[in-house]
């Protein structure tokens, strides 16, 4: 009987376990994790923080009988991995052997490295324990300072505002998320944040966290201002948890390097999800997606390959849907303005491929409430950003994924007319046909 060991109980590890069970009904499957809560919706933490759902809603399969995978859960931290003996060492269950192993250890928040970062009152939004900690502090928190320029930071801002806390939001650049959003797009988000009485500080970083009796009392900013606060919430990026792989001598860069079969440099060890830096034979690059659905898909593909089948991970166009300050935003494919030079880490809810903007032309149209930006290549659409009204996002994703030839309408697409969205929709219906109401 084959023994599969999966390290990590996030979406990737869980999807791998689910798939392995369907492929091999009798195999022994071990899910090992130091997260005491097992599998839950990590992106859902933002809505738990804002009070839109209760904690128990984060768990998908809490109802008995809905999904019984016959998996053994091992709670504990994996302290070492030994590829030659096919074993791992845990701090709770000692040594465990494996036939095939999946590293699905994910990524964790990058700590803020400034004086005072060890004070009580510093929080992040990595896992359920972090969210519980923030909620337990709400009662005694009047003002918070949030730092970071991506999805998690804005989720922290919205969550804390929903809990009735006054929020100062520090942005390192001229506007919010400059390596993905343009000035107009960011302006839409910032208007909503200001409407919710968030105090925005552009071109501002934390220089020092000021403490009083071991607790956060304020921050000193790069502008020389002192902002009084009881909490500092950090969402400055995530870093792949590669320590185990590095200790085992596996090849790593920003993540654990894997080929298109999600195999690492060591035999019988695979990696997937936020920890995996996946080689793409088409582009020749290896990149990381910190996204939920690709994480699920990678878990499935890894399972097929662990079970001895040969399945290539086909990278589809990276897509994410976000609710940024109440504005529904869909990001599809390459749309960014290049890598943020000061950014070393990836961001949760983000893909490195968004920042690989090819040399093409962007076409825009929009109102105060909705915005559409298309990245138009020679013969096909390469990327899009849809904010506000989302009717057009599914047709566009479909057109990008199936590489629909847009050359007959390319000229019109470049005109940035107010009817741009309708024009794309009409073309999609004409080429594919749409059946929804």
């Amino acid at each position: 009987m084959t023994r599969y060991v999966i390290i990590g109980t996030g979406i990737t590890g869980f999807a791998a376990a689910e798939t392995l069970r369907t492929l091999d009904p009798v195999a022994e499957i071990l899910l090992v994790s130091d997260d005491p809560h097992g599998f839950y919706s990590r992106p859902g933490l933002a809505y738990y923080l804002s009070g839109e759902i209760p904690e128990k809603q984060l768990f998908l399969f809490s109802k008995k009988g809905k999904l019984n995978l016959g998996v053994q859960y091992v709670k504990g931290l994996v302290t070492s991995l030994n590829p030659s003996s096919h074993t791992i060492e845990t701090n709770t269950s000692g040594e465990l052997g494996y036939d095939r192993l999946l590293l699905a250890t994910g990524a964790s928040g990058v700590p803020l490295e400034v004086p005072g970062a060890n004070l009580k009152g510093l929080v992040k939004l990595d896992d359920l324990e972090d969210t519980r900690k923030i909620l337990s502090m709400v009662k005694n928190t009047k003002t918070a300072v949030v730092v970071g320029g991506g999805v998690v930071a804005v989720e922290l801002v919205e969550g804390l505002i929903a809990q009735g806390i006054k929020v100062h939001y520090l942005l390192r650049g001229k506007w919010f998320w400059p390596n993905v959003l343009g000035e107009i797009e960011s302006g839409m988000i910032e208007r909503y944040l200001t409407h919710d009485e968030v105090i925005l500080h552009h071109n501002t970083e934390i220089v020092e966290i000021i403490g009083k009796r071991g607790e956060v009392a304020g921050v000193l900013t790069s502008n020389g201002d002192v902002l009084r606060c009881d909490m500092v919430a950090v969402g400055i990026g995530v870093k792949a948890r590669t320590e185990l792989a590095q200790g085992a001598g596996l090849k790593t860069e920003r993540g654990v390097l894997v080929n298109e079969y999600l195999q690492t440099s060591a035999p019988d060890i695979f990696a997937a999800g936020d920890v995996a830096q996946i080689f793409d034979p088409v582009s020749g690059n290896a990149s990381i997606d910190n996204l939920w659905y690709p994480g699920r898909k990678q878990g499935r593909i890894a399972a097929f390959n662990m079970a001895g089948q040969r399945e290539i991970y086909q990278r589809t166009v990276a897509t994410n849907v976000l609710r940024l300050a109440g504005v529904m935003t869909t990001i599809i494919g390459a749309i960014g303005s290049g890598r943020d030079e000061g950014q070393v880490y990836t961001s949760r809810g983000s893909s490195e491929t968004w920042q690989q903007l090819p040399n093409t032309i962007a076409s825009e149209s929009g109102t105060d409430l909705s915005h559409l930006r298309l990245i138009v290549g020679e013969q096909k659409l390469l990327g899009a950003l849809v904010m506000g009204d989302q009717k057009i996002s599914r047709p566009i994703r479909d057109m990008i994924n199936s590489q629909v030839d847009i050359s007959p309408i390319r000229k019109q697409l470049m005109e940035s007319s107010p009817q741009l969205g309708q024009f794309v929709m009409d073309y999609w219906i004409k080429t594919k046909g749409g059946g929804e109401t």
Partner: protein, 86 residues
């Protein structure tokens, strides 16, 4: 039992001709849909499976469609009524 629906509601039409369809690629399984369903249908589970909400009790009230923060759910016409004049 009657449900108070405005005669102008778009949902009146949907009640008889549509069902809720998920787009799993957008779903992060937060469960807001299931939590807000007035009759406790586990909409999220359908999204996990990538299947339309096939529950004879579904009111197609649109609560899950409206509440989803990621735009996962939309209405589609059911095949049952194809060919029938609206």
């Amino acid at each position: 039992m009657t449900f108070p629906l405005s005669s102008e509601s778009k949902h009146v039409k949907t009640l008889v001709t549509g069902h809720v369809v998920p787009e799993p690629e957008r779903c992060i399984q937060c469960g807001i849909c299931s939590f807000n369903c007035p009759i406790s249908i586990d909409v999220r589970y359908y999204a996990w499976l990538g299947e339309y909400v096939e529950d004879s009790y579904c009111l197609t009230c649109g609560e899950c469609v409206e509440r989803c923060p990621r735009g996962v759910l939309h209405f589609e016409k059911t095949e049952l009524f194809i060919g029938r004049k609206e």
